[in-house]
């Protein structure tokens, strides 16, 4: 029963701190992170983060990726256009390189540095979209470009994550082998697409015939877990499998209904536990020692996106001022970065100390984006 009390406490903290965050115009997720830190071992030390809570949080990650897959619209992807690709690509390559080299220069091992670089790639534009909407600037050239690049950025982020985990699991992989590795992942994607599509379709059709409450949702959940499991068996990240399940289900007629239900399940229980859980696992004391690197890393996170996305925008014939705005809009990191850090922790690449550094980066980029955005958008 104690594990349930812990769950209740985590949910209260999630919603309460999330609420406070939204009141000061910050993303709810930020409040949940900070709430988690507060009840975690570093400060109040009132939760033990037991096995059951761990599983709920892992399922939260799986569900987040599944939802990301469900929202991946292949048609929309085709329509985003060349500029969005250039911006997103610049925003992935530059932060990755900078993050990797700085971490290695600072003395971290190769795998750690690769993950630290990878974490910097995934933007989370929810915050930017909210602020631009309030400033009534979302429907500008820059606003549209940011939203379109985010679509590409999400997919690139998943590819980076999948590749990194596959590299880690195979042990020493050299740059020359990267081609083979990416080829293998591509084969996995294509095969599961070809084999998975008819299966998913049949399973969902069957579930429609079963006249029991929430059968469709239950089957979607079961499919997601099975895909995650199969992906793991092929040494590909389980969450990539979940994402793939989402993409496959997004192609069916049931997508909308499933997505509504999965959102209800995820945000009432699993996702808050994941976000608060990240806060709980963050070791604040380590930050006092490794503080210099955490701050350097956060600065790289900001500069990397501004330079990378900005350069992409310039190539796509944006004016310098517009390019700067796009770059700043792409700074915030949240869910995907946290998921990557979490994977690195569970895979044993990061220890608790190193894990706390990306969490700091997420918090700092979230804090700095609103004032920076207001500044670059008000300079006319």
């Amino acid at each position: 029963m104690d594990v349930f009390l812990e769950l209740a406490l985590i949910l209260i903290v999630a919603k309460l701190f999330g609420y406070i965050a939204t009141k000061v115009k910050m993303p709810g997720a930020l409040g949940q992170l900070i709430g988690g830190m507060l009840i975690g071992p570093s400060i109040l030390n009132i939760v033990s983060y037991s096995e059951g809570i761990h599983l709920i949080s892992e399922m939260g990650v799986v569900l987040l990726l599944f939802l990301a897959g469900l929202e991946t619209d292949v048609e929309e992807f085709k329509r985003v256009g060349v500029p969005a690709f250039l911006i997103a690509l610049g925003g992935v390559v530059v932060p990755f390189m900078m993050g990797y080299y700085i971490s290695e220069w600072f003395g971290y091992g190769r795998t750690e540095a690769l993950f630290l670089g990878g974490i910097l790639t995934a933007t989370s534009v929810g915050l930017t979209a909210n602020i631009l909407m309030e400033m009534k600037r979302l429907r500008t050239k820059e606003g549209t470009a940011i939203l379109a690049s985010a679509v590409v950025d999400d997919v690139l982020g998943i590819i980076v994550l999948t590749t990194l985990i596959a590299m880690h699991r195979k042990g020493h992989v050299y740059v020359e082998d990267l081609g083979t590795l990416i080829g293998e992942i591509a084969v996995f994607f294509v095969v599961s697409w070809l084999v998975g599509r008819p299966i998913v379709k049949e399973v969902l059709l069957l579930s429609e015939r079963i006249d029991l409450p929430e059968t469709l949702t239950a089957f979607a959940l079961a499919l997601t877990l099975i895909f995650a499991y199969i992906a793991e068996q092929f040494r590909i990240a389980g969450i990539t499998g979940a994402y793939l399940a989402g993409v496959l289900i997004a192609q069916t007629d049931e997508a909308k209904r499933i997505s509504d239900r999965i959102i209800a399940i995820s945000y009432s229980l699993f996702v808050p536990v994941f976000l608060v859980g990240i806060g709980i696992k963050t070791d604040i004391e380590v930050l006092l020692h490794a503080g210099a690197f955490a701050i350097l890393y956060s600065i790289i996170a900001i500069i990397g996106k501004v330079l990378g996305c900005g350069a992409g925008a310039l190539i796509a014939k944006f004016k310098p001022k517009e390019a700067l705005r796009v770059g700043v809009g792409m700074i915030p990191r949240m869910e995907v970065a946290l998921i990557m850090a979490n994977v690195a922790l569970t895979e044993g690449v990061f220890d608790k100390g190193l894990f706390s550094i990306p969490v700091t980066m997420v918090i700092l980029t979230t804090f700095i984006t609103p004032p920076l955005l207001k500044w670059v958008f008000s300079r006319d």
Binding site: I12, Y19, D211, E214
Partner: protein, 374 residues
């Protein structure tokens, strides 16, 4: 990862076998329990799956509560006391009598006590399936379950303290009665007003699914509180559901919690119940175990049925109530584990009680469906 694939398997099994059983006119729940039995042959449940399934039974009773009508619940107070009271009395006496030829006097008392508490989660799900939960019979069964739980725990506490210390601890018994009636009174009279205000505030939180999350929070907190008062945790969950059912947030909370429950946790619960059943117990049952189990069924049907008849139900309705009160689960096993660890009973009693729990669990759904069809 192994646990996650296990969850997927259990979910698929629950829905598929549930469906097959529905097609052949049997209760879905029975299909899910048998599905669990099959999985149980190949794989074992673990701590985490058990926690998930415990959340499932709490969600189930919460949903039963939110569907129930508090007015009706208050109205069936007297009948439910009759049903539970006579049911407990009959089970205790018959349990004692059937055990007496086989064991010593003291132990026979304990066998009588073990037979008393009903656990209605199985009945609730079958009645929901038949769409008969919101009837006078359904409400009476649920209210009687509350009373029965209190009485059952009183009897067990008395017997265990009698066996352990040689005398009955009246002070504890008075304490239990006062605490429990306080708990119930607070719920029934203050609950709805408080819940309305609380949810009004919660709905101001501009984050997705806040009301659902807080419904889960309240459910856990009060289940915990009920358990702290030696009541079954599922009754706390039921009372929370009953209370939220009186507020203007009923529909919203019910819709979302039922998605959470039926897509994952509730099917897991029934499959997990099946996984806990050990076939070897059932195949190698002693004569005593079979007699004891038969008496467990007869005593509730006759006792609770008689109570219902006395309080004005007709014969058919009384039979339905009696059958609805058959299942034993949860409480017994918890109490027995305590008794076993304190050395009051030996492993024999545990084996026999577990056999009785398994058989009543499997028999109740079809029996219940049968008495409702006639």
């Amino acid at each position: 990862m192994e646990t996650l694939i296990m969850l997927a398997l259990m979910l698929a099994m629950a829905k598929l076998l549930g469906w097959v059983f529905e097609k052949i006119g049997q209760p879905v729940v029975l299909g899910q329990i048998l599905g669990g039995l099959i999985i149980g042959v190949f794989a074992e449940s673990n701590e985490i799956i058990r926690e998930f399934s415990n959340l499932g039974v709490l969600l189930l009773l919460f949903l039963a509560g939110i569907e129930s009508d508090l007015q009706e619940f208050r109205r069936v107070g007297t009948p439910s006391i009759f049903v539970a009271g006579i049911g407990v009395l009959f089970s205790f006496i018959l349990g004692f009598l059937v055990a007496y030829p086989f064991v010593e006097f003291h132990e026979a008392l304990l066998y009588g006590a073990i037979m008393t508490p009903t656990s209605v989660s199985i009945t609730v799900r079958v009645l929901m399936e038949l769409r008969r939960l919101r009837t006078r019979e359904g409400t009476t069964i649920l209210a009687a379950a509350v009373v029965d739980d209190v009485l059952g725990i009183l009897v067990l506490t008395m017997i265990i303290s009698l066996l352990r210390e040689g005398s009955v601890d009246y002070k504890t018994i008075v304490e239990i009665i006062v605490e429990v009636s306080g708990f119930l009174a607070i719920f029934i009279y203050l609950g709805p007003v408080f819940a309305e205000k609380a949810f009004k505030r919660i709905s101001r939180i501009d984050l997705p699914e806040s009301t659902t999350a807080f419904a889960v929070v309240f459910l856990i907190l009060f289940a915990y509180m009920a358990e702290h008062l030696n009541l079954a945790s599922i009754l706390g969950a039921y009372m929370v559901g009953l209370t939220i059912g009186q507020t203007s947030y009923k529909k919203q909370v019910e819709d979302h919690v039922s998605v959470l429950g039926y897509s994952l946790f509730i099917p897991l619960f029934f499959v997990e119940v099946g996984m806990r059943i050990e076939l070897s117990y059932i195949l190698h049952a002693s004569l005593f175990a079979v007699l004891y189990t038969a008496m467990a069924i007869v005593s509730k049907v006759v006792g609770c049925g008689f109570g219902a008849y006395l309080s004005g139900f007709d014969l058919k309705a009384s039979l339905r109530i009696g059958v609805g009160m058959i299942p034993r689960l949860g409480v017994e096993l918890a109490m027995l584990t305590i008794a076993l660890s304190s050395g009051v009973i030996g492993p024999d009693a545990l084996t026999i009680a577990i056999f009785m729990v398994f058989v009543t669990t499997i028999l109740t759904p079809p029996l219940l469906k049968w008495v409702y069809k006639r």
